[in-house]
Symmetry: C2
Amino acid sequence: MTTEPTTLAPQTGTGFLLRKDQVLTVVDPQGGQVSDLFCFAADDHDERLSSGRTIDYANTIYLTTGHTLYSNRSRPMLTVVDDSCGRHDFLLTPCSQDTFDLLYPEFESAYHPSCLENLATGLEPFGVTADQIGTTLNIFMNVWPEPGGELHIDPPTSVAGDRFVVRAEMDLHVGLTACSAEKSNGGVCKPIEFSVSGSDRT
Amino acid sequence: MTTEPTTLAPQTGTGFLLRKDQVLTVVDPQGGQVSDLFCFAADDHDERLSSGRTIDYANTIYLTTGHTLYSNRSRPMLTVVDDSCGRHDFLLTPCSQDTFDLLYPEFESAYHPSCLENLATGLEPFGVTADQIGTTLNIFMNVWPEPGGELHIDPPTSVAGDRFVVRAEMDLHVGLTACSAEKSNGGVCKPIEFSVSGSDRT
């Protein structure tokens, strides 16, 4: 089966079961929009996506087609099978209320939607809490370090229709967002589309 | 009180309680040796060191004097109060048996001491398991990305006597190692020294 594309409205997120061998396609429909992804082994949430393991084994901070995303137990969780953009971030945690409070004084500590809240809400039906959500794969996010280490968060390089496609290497509980941080998305938070293909074994 | 310096033999580690306002000094006695650090809030292990939060708030991949190390709840855990080296890594997870199996075929999947095992053993008395240990602050580890993202793990730039000093901003359970990975330590695994100063409130 292949699901119809689902649209995540700006500054929202969701959670879903992705079965082993199913393929998740994340599309930036308008261009310039980030989508944060985090996942857990469906049968044991103590096993979760690990940026540090993945970056170590891939030997690069930029993940793209052919790379494997590893768990904290060094087991493959997802394989990147297609990537039409080529620039994603795996250094930074999902934006949270604290991110806006600490980094963006223009919001004056008022409530702000965030990827952490949206991931936690999306994964809550599976029993996941915000504390368990670590560094996300920030699809289409354009983060780069200067040689001295300083980080730049520039607008995504993705254009309308760009896609990032992963295959599940185990049954996963996946959280996915249309990122809520204006700065990461060229000033305007836009929607994200996704679809799942492959057998659901039901 | 100030403790006498403790020596961690090559390829070993430990765990200890570090009280709020106590100061931990980590010394590279011979030069060229990495020490991995991870920590948890002593009163709630669901709160733990977060590389992603820290890098985001510091806006650099290289942490040094004046920077704050944050938890996954965006609360300060440690403040760097002195750093005579200036090059440490906060991208990579502690070396583990899987690291050697996947990256270093010269060890032919035989047992190899690792920072993950040593951290888990050191923190076991506090009820911590290996699954809970995320991306470590790899003191004196010399990791740098090319502009294209490729990572290099070069010998540490630390010389004999270099120190990295942090102050606890909350009560912490700290794991600390003398790193076990030959490649990260210029080919030879050496000892690490550490000491704690400040009131123990006992």
